[in-house]
């Protein structure tokens, strides 16, 4: 193991070998979440197409990469990542966010029922619509899901910054992953809290996703509220130092 070498180089004693070297080094900030893998571990390649490429078609880089993988340590693939062609990382992330108490079976079944409900609703509309409008109706639940969440993503966010003993809501640009997270979080919260107890989650979620797909509905409204607050507090923008 490279552990002794790593700690010797870094000069920090007592650190476990799992500390990644790409950590953001701010003074007074220590990393609390780290992986057990050292920096020499590579991510697993799950894509089947990568392995199916015949050797003749590989470029020099790819050949070198393959040879390198033979000798390097590779991390274990996470349990929920599959090589299925139907796998969608956004759907997986959303399912994980919907999960409560580790009940992935329930979360996943809710997700599949939501997609089915979306499809059935759109099919109903499709059959009811006249021929000219049929081409405009989107029946693919995955496109609707992706588009709806994209429509819900805020462009700018608010961050509480402490200045002079008071917390001010300062408008701040958001990273891509934060925006995706906020869109999904708002969607799930909205569906959990604002539904009647007899209405099932897939039903409510499919309804909200359809509304968000058309840029309507409570989640879009929440996004607009966020934007308006950011606009209102734009004078505080100089409180941000990054």
């Amino acid at each position: 193991m490279a552990a002794p070498a790593v700690t010797a180089v870094r000069g920090w004693s007592g650190l476990t070998p799992g500390v990644r070297s790409v950590v953001l080094r701010l003074p007074g900030v220590t990393q609390v979440r780290w992986s057990r893998y050292g920096p020499e571990y590579r991510d697993p390649q799950i894509d089947k197409e990568y392995y199916r490429k015949p050797l003749a078609e590989l470029t020099e880089e790819e050949k070198y990469d393959r040879e390198l993988r033979k000798t390097q340590h590779i991390k274990a693939a996470p349990a929920m990542k599959t090589s299925s062609v139907f796998e969608d990382p956004l759907i997986s992330k959303f399912t994980n966010m919907m999960m409560k108490g580790g009940n992935k079976v329930l979360a996943r079944s809710l997700m599949t029922q939501t997609l089915e409900a979306l499809k059935r609703k759109q099919f109903e509309k499709y059959h009811a619509a006249p021929a000219e409008e049929q081409a405009t109706i989107e029946r693919n639940p995955y496109t609707i899901f992706h588009q709806a969440l994209k429509n819900c993503e805020p462009v700018i966010g608010l961050v509480p910054i402490l200045k002079g003993g008071h917390f001010y809501q300062v408008p701040v640009p958001l990273a891509d992953r934060r925006r995706r997270f906020l869109a999904m979080k708002w969607m799930i919260t909205e569906c959990r809290e604002k539904k009647h107890r007899r209405v099932l989650m897939p039903e409510k979620l499919s309804h909200e996703l359809l509304q968000a797909f058309q840029n309507q509905g409570p989640v879009i409204k929440r996004k607009h509220d966020m934007h308006k607050m950011a606009e209102a507090n734009r004078a505080l923008a100089h409180y941000r130092w990054w």
């Binding site: 199916r52 062609v85 029946r139 693919n140």
Partner: protein, 515 residues
């Protein structure tokens, strides 16, 4: 050998499907043996599902049950393997089961195969595999072997065409034959409402509503049953046919196919959609007025009477009761009055609904022997009649099924002591009580009592889709644009669906619903 291969072989044995040679390029020495790099985790800790060129190294296991049409498209798509396709195509028609395999070593196609050189290895392996599968298939097809051969040869030829046919225009079940196997036929929606007010599975109903059409696949078990029904001798006692199979294989829909046929042939259809509903979750249990030992179920009985009336409107005025029935002090039905009156009485006076049901069953059983009409008794979930119930008396002691009047009367109808019709039954674990999930055989589900009561019966196994039916089902979904995921249209996606569902119709439907 990965278990997925086992599943494939099992499917083939039960499906009696001709085995055109599998992808002949996989047994051929892979031109790039180094495609599989040692030390690289080609396969993650989970099993990879089979298929895909080059994903399996060394001595492979050619899938005898691989999709024939899929292979056609794959071969045309894969570059650099024209010889395999060409030799497979010429060997294709000859590789039908039984008689013709030994002729492969003879003239013409074999000579061309010899010229194909390295493909011969794959061919011999294929031949040995076809030989191995032969006895099982012949045993299974039984009396229908001759038609099978010709039909399968036709299908071989049709499988060479690029698109599998999933629909047939033959909408009359009486004319369905083996050549329609795997194809969907359309039932007009008004007929669906009239014939099946209650009998269709809920997921199928949703599908009918979404697609705006009711299409049933013509499958071997139903065809076999139709053949038997067409040749019934109405002078002999009613024959009992029991459809059994694992969960989700299509027993209920096969039953619906039979009911459609019988209704078209103007039989009187006595359809009990789910006998399990009568032995559980009953809100009101009344002590029966007719027999103090038994219990009445007014709600279930009245619902059934309503649906019976919808399905068999025209018979209710023709059939007359043969004795007088006294309901209570003020009401009675005279002898010779139409059966419709008894049904009306049951529907209006809900307290006597169970007795009305009993009377209907008794009268129909008695009068079917006279020959004025033919009776089809169709019970779904017949293992409920001999199982246990979850119903309890006021003193919390359990009630046995025979203490329920509905079940008691139904048991009498299912006995084969009458003639002039047929009895088609379905076993079902899905709604059953106190039965293990994996149980599907008649002995397991019926128990000793039920098996002895039903003995003798003709068992008909309903199994998973064979490759042709699977392809047809996917084709049907594609035609209705039900598979919206862009990867579902690809071969990779189809292979994955085959693997995930194991060709089980119910599972496939659930998987395709969210794609």
């Amino acid at each position: 050998m990965p278990p997925s291969c086992l599943h494939n072989t099992q499917t083939n044995l039960s499906g009696a499907q001709p085995t055109p040679p599998p992808r002949a390029h996989s047994p051929a020495p892979s031109p790039k043996p180094a495609a599989r790099l040692s030390g690289t985790p080609l396969r993650p800790a989970r099993r990879d599902f089979p298929g895909g060129p080059g994903s399996r190294p060394g001595p492979p296991l050619p899938h005898p049950a691989a999709l024939p049409e899929v292979q056609v498209r794959e071969m045309t798509g894969a570059p650099g393997k024209p010889r395999a396709e060409w030799s497979r195509k010429c060997l294709g028609p000859e590789a039908s089961p039984g008689a013709s395999t030994h002729r492969v070593r003879g003239r013409g196609p074999h000579m061309r195969v010899q010229r194909a050189g390295t493909m011969l290895k794959g061919m011999t392996r294929l031949i040995s595999r076809v030989h191995k599968l032969d006895p099982g298939r012949l045993l299974h097809t039984g009396t229908q072997a001759p038609q099978n051969l010709t039909a399968q040869l036709d299908d071989q030829v049709s499988s060479e065409r690029p698109r599998a046919i999933s629909r047939t225009s033959e909408n009359d079940p009486a004319k369905h034959e083996l050549r329609h196997e795997g194809q969907h036929y359309n039932i007009p929606l008004p007929d669906v409402k009239a014939l099946f007010p209650q009998g269709l599975p809920p997921r199928y109903l949703k599908q009918v509503k979404t697609f705006n059409e009711a299409c049933l696949m013509v499958r071997k078990p139903a065809l076999e049953l139709l053949h038997h029904l067409k040749n019934t001798n109405f002078a002999h006692p009613a024959v009992r046919y029991v459809l059994y199979g694992e969960k989700g294989t299509g027993k209920t829909l096969s039953l619906c196919h039979i009911i459609h046929f019988c209704a078209k042939q103007d039989w009187l259809v006595l359809h009990i959609p789910d006998a399990h509903l009568w032995v559980k979750n009953c809100r009101e249990l009344l002590q029966s007025t007719y027999n103090k030992q038994r219990f009445d179920q007014p709600l279930e009985a009245s619902i059934w009477l309503k649906n019976f009336k919808t399905a068999n409107e025209r018979f209710l005025s023709q059939i007359k009761t043969q004795e007088k029935y006294v309901w209570n002090k003020r009401e009675s039905t005279e002898q010779g009055s139409p059966l419709g009156e008894v049904v009306e009485q049951g529907m209006t006076r809900v307290r006597s609904a169970t007795d009305a049901v009993g009377i209907v069953l008794k009268e129909l059983k008695r009068q079917s022997s006279l020959g004025t009409f033919r009776l089809l008794v169709a019970v779904d979930g017949v293992n409920a009649l001999w199982g246990r119930t979850t119903l309890k008396r006021e003193d919390k002691s359990p009630i046995a099924p025979e203490e329920l009047a509905l079940i008691y009367n139904l048991r009498k109808v299912v006995r084969n002591d009458w003639n002039g019709g047929a009895i088609v039954l379905t076993l079902s674990q899905t709604g059953s009580l106190f039965k293990p999930r994996k149980a599907y055989l008649p002995q397991e589900l019926l128990g000793k009592e039920g098996f002895d009561a039903l003995d003798p019966f003709i068992p008909i196994l309903v199994s998973n889709y064979n490759p042709k039916e699977f392809e047809s089902c996917l084709q049907y979904y594609l035609e209705n644009s039900w598979l919206q995921h862009e990867k579902a249209h690809t071969e990779e996606g189809k292979r994955e669906l085959l693997f995930l569902s194991n060709s089980n119709p119910g599972q496939l439907e659930r998987l395709c619903a969210c794609l």
